[in-house]
Subunit: 226 residues, 2 copies
Amino acid sequence: VEIAILGTGSVGRALAGRLAGLGHGVTVGTRDPQATLARAAPGPMGAPPFRDWAAAHSAVRLATYAEAASGADLIVNATSGAATLAVLEAAGRDNLAGKVLLDISNALDTTRGFPPTLLMEGTDSLAERIQAAFPDARVVKSLNTLTAALMVEPGRLADGEHTVFVSGNDAEAKGVVSGLLKSFGHTDVIDLGDITTARGQEMWLALWLRLMTALQTPMFNLKIVR
Amino acid sequence: VEIAILGTGSVGRALAGRLAGLGHGVTVGTRDPQATLARAAPGPMGAPPFRDWAAAHSAVRLATYAEAASGADLIVNATSGAATLAVLEAAGRDNLAGKVLLDISNALDTTRGFPPTLLMEGTDSLAERIQAAFPDARVVKSLNTLTAALMVEPGRLADGEHTVFVSGNDAEAKGVVSGLLKSFGHTDVIDLGDITTARGQEMWLALWLRLMTALQTPMFNLKIVR
């Protein structure tokens, strides 16, 4: 499967590296590939410049958002929530049509200190806005509920005995995403229902952020015991 | 310890019955005790009339909100979130001063179908409003994150191997509540921090409600795996 990852941050890198390692064709999409590769300063939280990461992951290609999306069967939104709708517009409506769009973003306002607050209120979610803006994309919300390292290697914590979720209107698209999650090592994937259930996944971040502070690590996840 | 439970619904009954069973003196507070006892119709979700429950729990007293709060060392808010501030006003500012106030409420708008939406937005919580309105009370948010039966008997699910939280400004008050939780059988109580961390506990409800639908049971809880 050819996969486009939109976003060059820690989530995009984690997904791109893992998917390439599993044998998928992976292209990372960015606004301006030359500018992304020219950047020499560390990113947020001291992340190395993208070009250093790219040098260590030569199987992963870099392209514009539109080029990446146009060649892909499955598209991953790993951009920050505040930028997501503009990035998807740049990726191109026609390049999203009919494709599975895995949305990992969190709609956080990080401009006013820690913890960030949610940009969406309880009667809306970023995933729903994406689905409404791009009705021909098959949006599935998942993986925004845990830290990037555990998204792609859940076995690093308790042998993968914890839970992730999928929300979306298209059952087949949720099946595709669930299959990818299982290929990463996830053992418990709960289908919450239609795209409006993404509100629950997105609002979980409020508790996740406080737990990260209380536990002094992002290396945790919730398990739904039942 | 003398404990007042404000609220006669499923949460209030579960707490009152369990605390009385553990040997505490328990008084349930209601607006009008005679009216509460006169009610013969089933409550929400087919709950039996309070008088039937009271007949089976003769150690539990019934009184007005103010009478219950005035005689108590510890007060439990088990009212619906939409009614909470008015109930606490009726309980009496002086009757709350200096006391531990365990807030189990959820601020849900149930008037527009299922799932209900949260009355508070991401920059506020009911627990913070309670603390602001009654600055001399020692508010601790806890137990609003799981169903009533599991609040008081966590061992009914996976031998109690799941997680609850406390949020509050007063470390001693959080210690008192944590002790109560452990006496119920809770094995993992995470202190999230000050009262603003109650936002995380309250916003979790959005995911909890969707999980109840997906799992077709309220008998589940989250465990924080770390």
